[in-house]
Point group: C2
Chain length 84, copies 2
């Protein structure tokens, strides 16, 4: 069996998001005053076999080992439905 | 009123995702044979006021003007609940 988990990585609330600020400025200057703020983030769609290890454990381990910089970033994840 | 839309940007199915492949290889070599594949993407959390323009229209316009490279990428979006 294979399941898919989506891990969302974002800056911590306390960390300035320079890319998001630059994109917000650019979008507003393109004529979108209705846009108030844009924040950016990454996501990882992880296809995995939960037979030997739980999804929660795998997600936690690979986030700590590789995917997330805990000095600046935080993450959460959700299971994806099969059709996505 | 302010609403929040999350725009997901991913490579098209037909486009090779080199970063995803590199991350998959790295995770597997760190001792995670349970991970079969990882794909990466970006997302944009857009806070906007839909009074003058619909969310769908704003999302479509800023995706075309700035956020998405339609040669390589595709996007979809969803509305976020307030607590997220």
């Amino acid at each position: 069996m294979t399941v898919k988990a989506r891990i969302f990585v974002t800056y911590k609330e306390s960390v300035f998001d320079p890319q998001g600020q630059a994109i917000t400025d650019a979008v507003q200057s393109l004529g979108h005053p209705e846009v108030e703020k844009i924040n950016v983030g990454k996501f990882f769609d992880v296809q995995l076999d939960p037979a030997t290890k739980s999804v929660a454990q795998t997600v936690s381990e690979i986030s700590e080992q590789l995917l997330v910089n805990f000095n600046l970033e935080t993450y959460r994840y959700e299971l994806l439905e099969e059709q996505q």
